[in-house]
């Protein structure tokens, strides 16, 4: 991969900590692997040094053993398409870093990521361990580059940069969507021609710009192109462009996807949707339905669930959205994948599966992860156990703890 990989640095940091050597075994778990292995009953999962090192080994020599008592263990959920770590308070301009008028193909917001944001521990309450953050961009149809961070809250938690290029297509408040398509095609053709020329002769030593590198990676399929659009005719239009350039396409939004589900399946295009989007909010979304996720799954489309609206503050709700998708036709296992393996595979990132050698991002649930009565019992990010406590809990405790002194003294 030519993408920036930070796992080496992360590994080096972990090696210096004593936690590295610790072996944790989770026993008697009902493991939803998000792989072809499906669900494993009474299973043991061993983690060491940030990785899953064994599943059901013949014997376990663990420093810490956790008896899951048949409870469900899933891969950590992966949020996507939000601005987690790029915004603290939506209406406070100084706390927002996901947009800029001048944003374009090379707009990389990973440098602005704040792992100490209060949104991150809050998101962990929903069993979210990793997140694909995307900029919302500026004037250009090219919003910029997504990146991946784990939700450890540590300063080294950005795990992948230049993860995907985000493009906004479909309805416009001013002008025509036709021009958006032309801008996208022109940009790709221009780079394609430049690369063809380069191969012919000279210029080989000239260092390409970030934009050129990004477009090269999009053209050779290394970097997914995520296009936000919702109307059925737009879905077909972007599939044509995918086929013209052989790019690795992900469609985000896709309210009307049910109308063209077979074309999506045939083109092998993953679709990112909000499971609760069911209103005709525009003429591009007349067929939005709670049944979309299940219908796409049945048609063979790889579905990723993501939170609509303010997905940064609300990413913890992913599991409830998944439950709603299940009650409207999606399979339970498919919904788990839509929060885990499907995200990791579509974006080409680590995690999202319980298998030997995978990232040890794991969540032990009190019961069915989608049910409202269920909560996270334990969770691990990169092999380290993390808490779901956030400042919200501190506030609750302050105002529910009796004290003779003013509340300000309750800490």
């Amino acid at each position: 991969m030519t993408k920036f990989k930070l796992s080496l640095i992360t590994g080096a940091l972990l090696a210096s900590s004593s936690a590295f050597a610790q072996v944790t075994a989770i026993t008697n778990a009902t493991v939803h692997t998000s792989t072809e292995q499906g669900i494993l009953k009474d299973a043991t999962v061993v983690i060491e040094g940030g990785k899953i090192t064994a599943i059901n080994p013949s014997n376990v020599n663990a420093d810490i053993t956790i008896d899951a008592n048949d409870r469900i263990l899933t891969p950590g959920f992966i949020g996507s398409m939000n601005q987690l770590g790029l915004v603290e308070v939506g209406a406070v301009a100084g706390s927002r870093d996901a947009g800029d008028d001048k944003a374009g193909v090379d707009f990389d917001t990973s440098s602005a990521f704040n792992p100490r944001s209060s949104l991150i521990p809050y998101a962990r309450k929903g069993g979210v361990t990793q997140n694909v953050a995307v900029p919302y961009g500026g004037d250009s149809i090219f919003a910029g580059l997504g990146f991946v961070a784990d939700l450890s809250g540590e300063f080294d938690s950005v795990t992948d940069k230049h993860t995907a290029l985000v493009v906004h297509l479909g309805a416009k408040s001013k002008g025509s969507r036709a021009l958006s398509y032309k801008q996208l095609v022109d940009k790709l053709e221009e780079r394609q021609q430049a690369l063809a020329k380069k191969d012919d002769k000279k210029d080989k030593d000239k260092k390409p710009s970030v934009e050129e590198t990004v477009l090269t990676q999009v053209l050779n399929g290394q970097m997914p192109l995520v296009t936000h659009l919702t109307r059925a005719s737009d879905i077909l239009e972007i599939i044509k462009i995918k086929e013209q350039f052989g790019i690795n396409l992900i469609i985000w939004g896709a309210d009307d996807a049910q109308l063209v589900k077979s074309q999506l399946a045939k083109a092998k295009v993953p679709v990112i949707i909000s499971a609760v989007s069911n209103l005709p909010t525009s003429f591009d979304s007349l067929h939005a339905s709670l049944e979309t996720a299940g219908a796409l799954e049945k048609a063979g489309v790889k579905v990723i669930l993501s939170i609509g609206g303010d997905g940064s503050h609300n990413v913890y709700q992913l599991r409830f959205d998944a439950g709603i998708a299940v009650s409207n036709g999606m399979s339970h296992e498919g919904a788990i994948k839509a929060l885990t393996a499907n995200v990791a595979e579509s974006f080409g990132i680590e995690g999202g599966k319980i298998a030997k050698g995978e990232r040890a991002d794991l969540v032990l649930w009190s019961a069915d992860p989608f049910e409202i009565s269920t909560h996270v019992q334990k969770m691990w990010i990169n092999g380290t156990e993390v808490t779901t406590e956030s400042r919200h809990d501190k506030l609750r405790d302050r105002y529910t703890t009796e004290s003779k002194l003013p509340r300000a003294y309750t800490k």
Partner: protein, 460 residues
Amino acid sequence: MQKFAPSVLVLALGAALAGCQDQGPQKDHVKINKNPYPSTYAVSDSSSTLITNATVLTGTGERLDAADVYIVDGKISQVGKDLNVSADNTVDAQGKWVTPGIIDVHSHLGAYPSPSVESHQDGNEMTSPNTAEVWVEHSVWPQDPGFNRAREGGITTLQILPGSANLFGGRGVTLKNVPAHTMQGMKFPDAPYGLKMACGENPKRVYGSNKIAPQTRMGNMAGYRQAWIEATEYKLAWEQYDAAHAAGLNPDAPKRDIKYDTLRGVLDGEIMIHNHCYKAEEMAMMIDLGKEFNYHAGTFHHGIEAYKVADLLADNGNCAALWPDWWGFKMEAYDMVQENVAIVDAVKNSCAVVHSDSDTTIQRLNHEASKVMHTANRKGFDLKEQDAIKWITYNAAKSLGVEKETGSLSQGKQADVVIWDKNPFSVYAKAETVYVDGAKVYDRNDDKYQAVSDFMLGQR
């Protein structure tokens, strides 16, 4: 601000009093029609229905297992075990749950409908910080497909409010969630009007950024106080006029002003305050503001920090209509706690309400209440389904002033009822059948009872 200055009002009062001395034949008594756009809602079906063997949450804190609900003439007739009655329709609800119809006290459906195109932005009259003269019912588009989606989620009554850009945003209206092609066809008969007020960031941002008062929170308070002073004068002018006329004198009626008609309605106790207000210190001041001008501060909507003043709210009889978990979209929404509703609810004489303010979560207020119940129970609360259902039924009805008509399955109340396919606090639960005044308005398993908006008809 577009208002008559107090001095002008005093002159008008003087003129009215001078008119009292007029000895000529008495002119007709000028009376204000308080209901110029009356409800035309009519119950569509009066056949009797018996729902049997359900787990029933009454909305008044009770849970009855394997119980029956008997509906006659659009009203709850009996709730209990093994009712020995006959009905036109019998529904076997074995394994299912029955609750009162769900009530959302905070919706913008119809005023900010789908599709949310430019032509449909009818919820915020952002032309003056005091637009108490506007009535949101005049913006309601009954074809909003969101009404149908909400009904599929069990919503039988909802209050449509104007937006929160203004200190006084205008009148809200309470609707029955029945399909109709006029607003009047949905209007909840005889429900009190609400007046939308807004604290905090929104009014000061909308106006302050244009160098129009208010620009600050102290500017907000000054704006409310000035308006209530004027409304008090207006009320007095009409009362003096009415008294003089009743005494056989011949006064001239004060000049009519629909903005002050609404504010006076609050002072007269006929219109209920619905106040968008997030922060503890602001809610405390709005309660005092009500005392300063002798009206009740009503329901606080969005109250992110209600848990900080739970005692104060209960002591003063204020409902708090809250989200389970929305936060962080602006500074005044930063101090959210997930147990907010439960903390408010735990105080004696409290009135905790779960609301949506959303065309999406209005479809699942049962889930919204469930989130609170389960999160709070993990922190030592002992809330049960029969408690939590009150937040979206009885307490909501109380906030709207319709608790004598709907909000629980008590005998004689309007038969607004939902049959759920399972425990409504499960993420997998869905409303299966919805009744408004005993008439079936939605059936998940029968296309005949699935309403489609004009807007969606024939779209492909």
